[in-house]
Symmetry: C2
Subunit: 422 residues, 2 copies
């Protein structure tokens, strides 16, 4: 990475992050044709970043930037004070609006940064009900995201609650500074030319996917403490990583940062046990030390040392919530993992360790999957669910093998590091 | 007004303002049936107020509070950097969503407080184009507001830019404190029981409308410096003031504060000249010393000492923009007027002085008007337009007479004060 020795002011770093979000994450180039609208979802604390994003987006030719700010305290007020039946309510009018905007080729930027433990202490049953109805009404819009029909992206923004959780030993000002530094570094904003640095990084990830696609493994085998798992891969699966071309023709990089290569497992061909290697922060609840057993793709036993009730409810969302829809490989030496930090935020923690995701599969990880209907995707082994929840199973103690169609076993990772050349 | 001598902390005052917004403005009573959703439009600076509103709303039984925050800097970024054709773009998907929410009986709260001079210095032609397309896509939702089909309300929130404009001689901290004090006072939040105080005030305004409705004047005549104007009133016009029952059956008080009684003029029966008595802040442009001449309801001459171009563009929005849709009487001694302040904010300034509004009439100010279609309303003399813009024509130097159907002239106001008993 072609970094300089320059130091940057916070304002300069923030402006560069906004530029990376627009130019790399969303792939919006100056003078883009046809011009797009841009929808942004962000915590209110992200306002200074959003102002920089709005300027870069308008300068690149976006016609209208619509930021939707959410506030953790307003969300919490609902759990504290709203009448019980309200938890079966979701604003379908808003979900429809977002779907309509996406259908009209709007781009979508999410800012990650809400308090990961916001809903700790709230009734898990209410959280599950609210989450389920929200997933239902938002399904058409979310499918456009999982099918990558439009250019979309996520970048992070430090907030005090998140910083306090990630850096519990530090006073809040220092914790915020450290979290911002981690975000700026992982987002490669201090490279001489951040846009070029991201192109190079994307190229590196693509070489890895090319190697894996050439091998076309039938399954992956994971071994390590508490883990002895075979994950069959979907028929005609395809490894992806780095940037990709969305259905609307725009090259974008959905996750900033990203260190993973990922594909679609076969929903019926997962067997054995696996232990989580980092806590999962799901809708404000921390879930620690997950241990599950799969039989023919289905989770038949599940425990957690903390947040078990929330995890079991998550598995009960629908039939697909007990099966996995994504498998991703990340070397233990990735920059985010090397920081040694636990971020309690999926965007960071999933790029520090190999992981799997419960629920919905990405159709783009099946050859020609974006043109298939749900039934055809299912026949390939792609899982379907209202949820898509990543959790970490990789560490410096995990070995991963590739199992070929004729049963040969090839070492892919040892102690969390790649051992096969690209 | 049954005020106490107690002093209140800022947090207490803010909480009381939130309570007034929910209980009085929107008329949402605890245990309300059927429960409603609540949409809020607010500047980002209103976050502390919105958090109090969310809590009171959920406690009163609202199922879902959806705050939509706007940010002046993001709006300004559009005018500075967006490509030219973007000013003919509006997010119709969002306008449709709000209309759908209103049709589903959602309540609507607006927080007034953006920088009144935000767009000063921006291209008036772009402002006019953006405003026109926005009015067009939002027309169905706005008609539900003007027809009062749902409970809706506006309250104010101090912001630094507004405070600096209203109190230019003070340092910003003191200006903010003074503006908040003015908002709290005008919103009657320090009464022993603010909800009861508003009921009493509403009753006082209703007695005034009862008197005016009993007289059923054919016209009002205004005389004063630069003003010699006869405003014919619509056939079957009805005076309104204070609270009212919305089409969904909920008693609400749309404007907090409110000091006006108002009705619908006849769109073809306005003749003579009139001069504005306070500056009009329209979409970020200040328009000063408006002077217009009406002929048979239509403005045929118009000048302004400042912002004339913006005013002329406003008149050119559509045919109805040159005619008036509302006439309102406010005594010069009203509490807001007595403060002697100019707020550069219609919610305050329109309750400090008698005023007229260019554009759309309120159908609720015509007997049975809420059941009439546009054609029937027009036959009564109600004006129709994409805009509804109030400006002030009252002061301590203006006399108002009522002209009866048989031509008798009765004094209503002298030097801006009521001279006819309720």
């Amino acid at each position: 990475m072609n970094t300089t020795q320059k130091s940057f002011t916070f304002a300069e770093s923030l402006d560069r992050l906004a530029q990376v979000a627009v130019r790399v994450g969303l792939g919006i180039e100056p003078g883009q044709t046809p011009p797009q609208e841009l929808l942004i979802s962000a915590p209110v604390e992200a306002l200074p970043l959003i102002r920089r994003v709005a300027e870069h987006a308008y300068k690149a030719g976006v016609t209208l930037v619509s930021p939707f700010f959410y506030d953790d305290e307003c969300i919490l007020a609902r759990y504290k004070y709203a009448r019980d039946e309200s938890f079966d309510t979701a604003s379908s009018w808003m979900a429809d609006a977002i779907y309509t905007a996406f259908k009209g080729n709007a781009a979508r930027l999410s800012i990650s940064g809400g308090n990961p433990a916001l809903l700790a202490g709230q009734d898990p049953e209410k959280i599950a009900r609210a989450s389920k109805i929200s997933s239902q009404v938002n399904k058409p819009a979310m499918e456009m995201i999982t099918r990558h029909e439009i250019n979309w992206g996520i970048v992070a923004c430090a907030t005090p609650e998140w910083a306090a959780l990630a850096f519990p030993a530090d006073p809040i000002d220092q914790a915020m500074e450290k979290l911002w530094d981690a975000i700026f570094a992982a987002s490669r904003v201090h490279a001489d030319d951040p846009v070029a640095a991201w192109k190079q990084h994307s190229q590196d990830l693509k070489l890895r996917t090319k190697m894996l696609n050439a091998r076309s493994y039938a399954a992956l085998r994971y071994t390590g403490p508490g883990t002895n798992l075979v994950i069959g891969l979907a028929d005609d699966h395809k490894w992806l990583g780095g940037g990709g071309k969305a259905g609307n023709g725009i090259n974008c990089m959905p996750n900033i940062p990203t260190e993973e290569v990922f594909t679609t497992p076969h929903k019926d061909r997962v067997n054995g046990t696996v232990r989580s290697t980092k806590p999962l922060s799901h809708q404000g609840t921390l879930i620690q030390d997950i241990q599950v057993r799969f039989e023919n793709g289905r989770i038949v036993e599940a425990t957690a040392s903390e947040g078990e009730e929330a995890f079991l409810r998550l598995l009960d969302t629908d039939e697909g919530a007990r099966r996995i829809g994504e498998v991703a490989l990340v070397p233990h030496s990735s920059p985010i993992s090397a920081s040694g930090l636990l971020f309690y935020n999926t965007l960071f923690d999933e790029n520090a360790a190999s992981h799997i995701a419960l629920g919905q599969a990405y159709s783009s990880c099946i050859r020609n999957g974006d043109e298939m209907d749900e039934k055809a995707l299912e026949a390939k082994g792609a899982n379907s669910s209202l949820i898509h929840v990543d959790w970490m199973i990789g560490s410096g103690e995990i070995d991963v093998d590739g199992v070929t169609k004729d049963g040969a076993v090839e070492p892919l990772m040892r102690k969390g590091e790649w051992v096969i050349a690209v």
